[in-house]
């Protein structure tokens, strides 16, 4: 499978793509790294390119450093996250049965996921019986091709109500490249555009298996317009969003609005089943997107992440997200961000590449996300699981990773008091050399990866051991 421009990350997750050159996690220490160290800063991640000239997606810490450097954006982010957090706390604190709802929500999602094939087949049957068509897309490019083909049949102009799945498969850009006119339903002329379009595309929040119903929650009604007015409706859905039965919506219609927008219920909720004679589109398509989801499903521990209903509450409460925002998690703007993104992306894409391997480490494991998650995804547990996978994936390399090499050296050094003392003395002299203003921002060379996300205080001129020896000697002389 060849990688086309700009879509390396999103494609065929089960066919490992070549590693991102220039940012290998094994820590190639080349001239570029050295120059950046001398210059005291990282190169701009936006400008970095691999040897093949394609942009290399930055690792979390690199992108985060840029985000952190923008004080204005950080201020705005902290403010909007703070507001979201307050609304979230009020909305989830209100129902007296909130914990019972979360427990039921987690079980409902597990029930759907652990028998996903059966539920998707039931969904397809129900949609077909109601006059709709279900399409299956194993990856993003298949999804784009299906939608483009339907759009071309419909005259080459589509109204799009943007949503996470549509961004995930990079739909709008791909349609435009094929010469299809894409009208943003939420844009300034959205109202008129949707009214004029013959084909509309929306996302979906839930797929009810036993009834074939698609459920979509929103604030602005752009999707509601798209699924009501044009002749042809194409609904693109992550196939993980199956829900066993309509009755289960009584739980999810409480969990999602309260965690997503801090609302008791989202301003507009649409639920529809196939084609409704005399009401709305006469042609209804549902595109079920895999794009890495079966890979997540195949990880017995990691599959818990598929419970996600896309509320974003984990981001709202995350102390890391609050400071760095979306971009470091998702530089391409196509995947989930925040704590769930740090789990989802490496699960869906694997940890072969430096960027995805860096994501499980983008957390302090404080646990706030797990506490707020409406479907009780143990995000910290999954992060630890993935950190293990990253370490395992690198354990058997012929050249040990810097971490492993350092750990082995450290074990040898610390096994002997004299070796240790000599090393501490040498080490602190060197450390003071790389410190700036009493702080070490980044250790040089192979150790840099360890220290890039935190500053260290420069070690004192004299170690405790040597101070103690001197002090004791002086005391003894006096005594």
């Amino acid at each position: 499978m060849s990688l086309r421009e700009g879509e390396g990350e999103a494609e065929a997750p089960d066919h490992p793509a070549p590693p991102e050159r220039g940012s290998d996690v094994s820590g190639g220490f080349g001239l570029g790294t050295l120059l950046r160290l001398v210059g005291g800063q990282q190169g701009s991640t936006a400008r970095r390119r691999g040897q093949d000239g394609k942009p290399v997606l930055p690792r979390f810490a690199e992108a985060a450093r840029e985000a952190l450097a923008d004080a204005g954006a950080r201020h705005d982010l902290a403010e909007s996250v703070g507001t979201a957090r307050d609304r979230l706390a009020a909305a989830t604190g209100e129902p007296s049965d909130w914990e019972e709802l979360r427990t039921a929500g987690a079980a409902i999602r597990d029930r759907a996921l652990l028998d996903l094939g059966t539920h998707l087949e039931a969904f397809e049957r129900a949609v077909t019986d109601a006059g709709g068509t279900v399409h299956w897309a194993r990856n993003a490019s298949a999804a784009r091709r299906i939608v483009a083909s339907l759009a071309e049949d419909g005259g080459g102009e589509v109204a799009v109500a943007d949503g996470p799945v549509l961004r995930e498969v990079r739909l709008a850009g791909a349609l435009a490249e094929r010469g299809i006119t894409v009208r943003d339903a939420a844009g300034p002329e959205g109202r008129d555009r949707v009214r004029a379009a013959r084909v509309a595309v929306t996302g979906a929040d839930f797929l009810v298996a036993d009834s074939g119903t698609v459920v979509l929650l929103e604030a602005d009604g752009a999707a509601r317009a798209c699924l009501t007015l044009p002749e042809t409706l194409v609904c693109v859905a992550g196939m993980d969003r199956a829900v066993p039965s309509w009755a289960d919506m009584e739980v999810l219609l409480q969990l999602l609005p309260r965690t997503a927008g801090g609302d008791r219920l989202s301003p507009q909720v649409s639920a529809w089943t196939g084609v409704v004679p005399g009401d709305g589109p006469s042609e209804v398509h549902v595109v079920l997107v895999d794009n890495g989801r079966t890979r997540i499903l195949g990880d017995e521990v990691g599959r818990e992440a598929l419970r996600c209903i896309g509320c974003g509450a984990c981001s709202a409460v995350c102390p890391v997200y609050e400071r760095v925002g979306d971009r470091p998690y998702d530089p391409g703007g196509t995947g989930p961000s925040g704590p769930i993104g740090a789990v989802w992306t490496p699960l869906a894409r694997g940890v072969d590449r430096a960027r995805t391997a860096s994501l499980p480490f983008a957390s302090t494991l404080c646990g706030a996300c797990a506490e707020v998650c409406p479907v009780k995804i143990d995000i910290p547990g999954l992060l630890v699981h993935l950190r293990g996978e990253v370490v395992d994936a690198r354990r058997n390399r012929s050249v040990p990773t810097p971490e492993l090499a350092v750990m082995r050296g450290l074990a040898w050094t610390m096994a002997d008091a004299r070796r240790f003392e000599a090393a501490v003395g040498r080490g602190s002299r060197w450390a003071r050399l790389v410190a700036r203003g009493g702080r070490i921002r980044r250790l040089p060379g192979l150790l840099g990866r360890w220290t890039e996300a935190r500053d260290l205080a420069a070690p004192p001129a004299e170690s405790f051991r040597s101070w103690w020896r001197r002090h004791e000697a002086a005391r003894r002389r006096k005594g």
């Binding site: 289960d248 649409s270 639920a271 529809w272 079966t294």
Partner: protein, 233 residues
């Protein structure tokens, strides 16, 4: 799995079906492969949550209806309680307040609701009105299928006096008549009253602009002015 089903193909009618089936079978095979042996029993769902509104807010029917009114008003909806015999006057008063000249109504709207209109032309959606016609009216009057007190929501499902979805989407003002016996306490009660085969629109206040701080966007879709009349029995 191979990538064979991904080979570029021309878009076209009936010969898409084999490709659709290949993709379908491929995805389902991968799903089943990922899950391993099929489960004997489905995952049990502990349903310890409340399935109806409880507590002082739901002590009597009147309390539930009062809560609905309060929550709807909090969402920025002009809401009034009326007796059944005052309904026609109240509908006329709301439309007069909107300075509406022409409105659209579902063809099965009870005739009595519009009995007091003075100087307002009501177009029935029969024969079916096109979008420009709907965009040209000053408002729409409908009933609803069910209303939820806790969330201040009305749900339309295309049933009696509700019309098709475009009717309550395109006009910029929507007056919804809610009968007190249609008001339930909580979301589960509403879900249980509704049939998923019918197209549903749950409306909780007027639409709001999405993603504050995001890119500039236009006016939201759906009526920006909502009015409600709660008819006490």
């Amino acid at each position: 799995m191979t990538a064979r089903d991904e080979a570029p193909r021309r878009a076209a009618g009936p010969d898409e079906e084999p490709a659709r089936r290949t993709a379908r079978d491929g995805v389902l095979r991968r799903v089943r492969g990922a899950l391993g042996a099929p489960r004997r029993t489905p995952v049990p769902v502990p349903r310890g949550y409340l399935t109806r509104l409880t507590g002082p807010e739901a002590a009597t029917r009147a309390d539930v209806v009062a809560l609905f009114t309060e929550r709807v008003a909090a969402l920025g909806v002009a809401v009034r309680h009326v007796g059944a015999d005052e309904l026609a006057t109240a509908v006329a008063a709301v439309l007069w307040g909107w300075e509406a000249r022409r409105i659209v109504v579902p063809s099965d709207l009870p005739f009595g609701w519009l009995a007091e209109l003075d100087g307002v032309r009501a177009l029935a959606d029969s024969p079916v009105l096109d979008v420009p016609a709907l965009a040209g009216v000053d408002g729409v009057v409908t009933g609803c299928a069910v209303a939820v007190a806790q969330t201040g929501t009305v749900v339309l499902d295309g049933g009696r006096a509700q019309g098709r979805r475009a009717l309550t989407l395109v006009p910029d003002r929507h007056l919804c008549v809610v009968h007190a016996d249609q008001v339930v306490g909580a979301v589960p009660e509403a879900v249980r009253r509704l049939d998923p085969a019918l197209p549903q629109t749950w409306i909780s206040g007027p639409p709001s602009a999405s993603s504050p701080g995001g890119p500039p966007h236009g006016p939201p879709h759906g009526p920006r002015t909502l009015g409600m009349l709660v008819v006490d029995d």
